[in-house]
């Protein structure tokens, strides 16, 4: 088994999938010759040609809208939105078209489509290159939203998304691309969408999280173990559909839950997870459900002190979890 970065795991999965199924096609801004602004698709056009790895005009609604048409006519497109922050011109195509086509045609049509988009902050990207956009899309029935937190999961979830017959938004954390490394099997495997994963078992406090915050939470858990606090870390992996069973199970187990995400606090995934716990595990709760999330400001500022003040860090997670453990 090879050690790969999160980015390499995604690239190798794309390569493996392009080899496996001739209907798969990648396109977007700069994905061809340049191999993407983050180099995720580097070398793929050289191997598969311009018909299958194509540079498109700079127009997000057209990228997603054409992908919908292409999917209906037999391709399995994997378009890239260069930064998640740029997805909003295509929001109508994603929410009102891709996600509704199966329902509005009563199952006559469906749209096998994976939209890849780098998201998240901590990389000096400022307001329009740092956003977490998942909560907007997690609100939409008909759409699936997947966010891997490790290189291993990045591969299995991407393969699952590509073979899924419904539109999937696959969000990749920019800060994870090169900082996260891990063992990734070379053979193809899929991780079912909608299934969370307990990344670390514990008994005192549960951290429920996803994306880059998985690795940050594991760091916090490691530090807290030295103080005698046993922390369970649950990686949601899919935020639509949510794994209700796993969420309720960890809440019942520890009775103390801290939900961590980088996306804004209000209306974020944390609110939904809290509601599920309140509905299903009230009599097992031993403390208020807590959320640690990005602050309710329009987006992440540029200058380092401001950016740091915005970001959720392992230290902040550790502090919040300790407070909860001592409640």
């Amino acid at each position: 088994m090879a050690v790969m970065s999160y980015l390499e795991a995604i690239r190798e999965t794309l390569r493996q999938e392009l080899r496996r199924d001739p209907r798969i096609m990648i396109y977007g801004e700069d994905v061809g010759v340049r191999g993407g602004v983050f180099r995720v698709t580097e070398g793929l056009q050289a191997e598969f040609g311009e018909d299958r790895v194509m540079d498109s005009p700079l127009a997000e609604a057209a990228i997603i809208g054409t992908a919908i048409g292409a999917a209906v006519n037999g391709l399995r497109p994997v378009p890239e939105i260069q930064f998640a922050d740029f997805i909003f011109p295509a929001a109508n195509q994603i929410i009102q078209e891709a996600a509704r086509i199966r329902y509005r045609s009563n199952g006559d049509f469906h749209v096998p489509l994976v939209i890849r988009a780098p998201f998240g902050g901590g990389v000096h990207g400022a307001l329009y290159h740092s956003q977490s956009v998942e909560a907007f899309f997690a609100h939409v029935p008909g759409l699936k939203v997947v966010i891997p937190g490790t290189p291993y999961d990045a591969k299995g979830l991407l393969a699952a998304a590509i073979q899924d017959d419904d539109p999937v938004l696959y969000l990749e954390h920019k800060a994870a691309y090169r900082s996260l490394k891990g063992e990734v099997p070379s053979e193809r495997y899929v991780i079912p969408l909608g299934k969370a994963d307990v990344k670390r078992e514990g008994t005192d406090v549960s951290l429920i999280t996803y994306g880059l915050m998985v690795s940050y939470s594991l760091k916090a858990a490691e530090a807290l173990a030295k103080e005698g606090v046993s922390v369970e870390v649950v990686d949601l992996r899919s935020i639509r559909p949510l794994d209700v069973e796993a969420i309720v199970a960890t809440a019942r187990k520890t009775g103390k839950v801290l939900i961590v995400h980088e996306d804004n606090l209000t209306g974020g995934v944390g609110g939904e997870v809290s509601a599920l716990i309140a509905e299903h595990a009230l009599f097992d709760l031993d403390a208020p459900i807590m959320r640690l999330a990005g602050p309710d400001v329009p987006a992440m500022p540029y200058s380092p002190p401001l950016e740091h003040a915005f970001m959720v860090t392992p230290e902040k997670i550790q502090q919040a979890a300790l407070k909860l453990a001592r409640f």
Partner: protein, 325 residues
């Protein structure tokens, strides 16, 4: 008119679909006024543009992406009158949507009619994407987006034309310009006279055609389809026409159009003009016209009764078809 591949039999069939569409249209308004159909959108006046273009395509193989004005188009493309009525009345067996969408939101996978939503111009990029797949898979299909001139103010119209031209995709952008987006006249949508003028900016041919003449529409569409199939890329067609009725059964066009203007256009009713021409050419006569009218009347009555008696959707199916798995 030589060499266009149209036999007398095909021209008679074109006329049949135009008359059929008008008859179905009329019945839909009656059902609305009876309180049975909540809302109706007509193709009344657009029949020549729609039927003429449909006949130029490889029906059932080429993809069409219609909008709400396209009743005559989908009938000519193979949708049955019963299917139209099931859709109008929101019945469970409506093949367009199982009773989920508003009337005139066409979609039928088997007939290669792409399902559409209500936000205008979204289908322009879908047609471009269908054509992208045709180019990659080399399936020989052409895709056609149909849209009103109001929707050409939308970004997706321009994005679609640009994308299709850059990648030389086998797609036709077919504009039915009736001069009004509900109440807003074309001069308030654009500062140029013709939608077709847009084509030059994207590097594709823009063609203006009399949308009330089915044979001329047929010819330009056929030419555009040949261009597309031979790898020369997209064409923008602007069919100039007029709608004879309000935008919908909820609209009253007296607020924005003079009766004189409507009457002036009605002199050029495509049904009347085409009937006159085919009669002069000896293709239509009293006998076959009478038979055709009776056939259409029976078909519309049958479809109305069929749909009215068809079951409504079971509320238990509300949660069906959100995801495949």
């Amino acid at each position: 008119m030589a060499d266009n591949g149209l036999t007398p039999e095909l021209m008679k069939e074109m006329y049949y679909y135009m008359v059929l569409s008008r008859a179905v249209d009329d019945r839909m308004w009656i059902l609305n006024r009876q309180g049975k159909a909540p809302v109706v959108y007509s193709s009344n006046g657009h029949e020549a543009a729609q039927v003429g273009s449909a006949f130029a395509l490889n029906r059932g193989e080429d993809w069409i992406c219609p909008y709400y004005r396209d009743l005559a188009l989908v009938l000519a493309y193979g949708m049955s009158v019963r299917d139209v009525m099931l859709h109008l009345l929101g019945r469970a067996q409506d093949p367009n949507s199982g009773g989920r969408q508003m009337p005139a939101h066409w979609g039928h996978r088997q007939l290669h009619i792409l399902t559409g939503g209500s936000v205008v111009a979204t289908q322009d990029v879908h047609a471009t994407g269908l054509a992208l797949a045709s180019k990659v898979l080399k399936d020989g299909r052409v895709s056609v987006a149909y849209f009103g001139e109001g929707s050409t103010s939308q970004g997706e119209f321009h994005e679609a034309l640009n994308f299709a031209a850059v990648h030389k995709l086998p797609v036709i952008f077919f504009n039915e310009n009736n001069g009004y987006a509900i109440s807003v006249p074309a001069r308030k949508q654009m500062a140029v006279m013709d939608v077709a003028a847009r084509a030059a900016g994207y590097g594709m041919p823009g063609v203006i055609v009399d949308g009330n003449d089915p044979l001329k529409v047929y010819e330009v569409t056929r030419e555009a389809a040949e261009r597309a199939r031979s790898g020369d890329g997209p064409t923008l067609i602007e069919a100039k026409t007029y709608r004879f009725v309000p935008h919908s059964s909820d609209d009253d066009d007296r607020a924005y159009r003079s009766r004189e203007e409507v009457q002036e256009w009605k002199k050029r009713d495509p049904l009347v003009m085409f009937e006159q021409r085919l009669t002069e050419d000896g293709i239509l006569n009293d006998d076959n016209l009478t038979a055709m009218r009776q056939q259409i009347k029976d078909l519309v009555n049958d479809a109305t009764d069929f749909a009215e008696q068809a079951p409504l959707p079971d509320p238990g199916t509300l949660y069906a078809e959100v995801y495949g798995s």
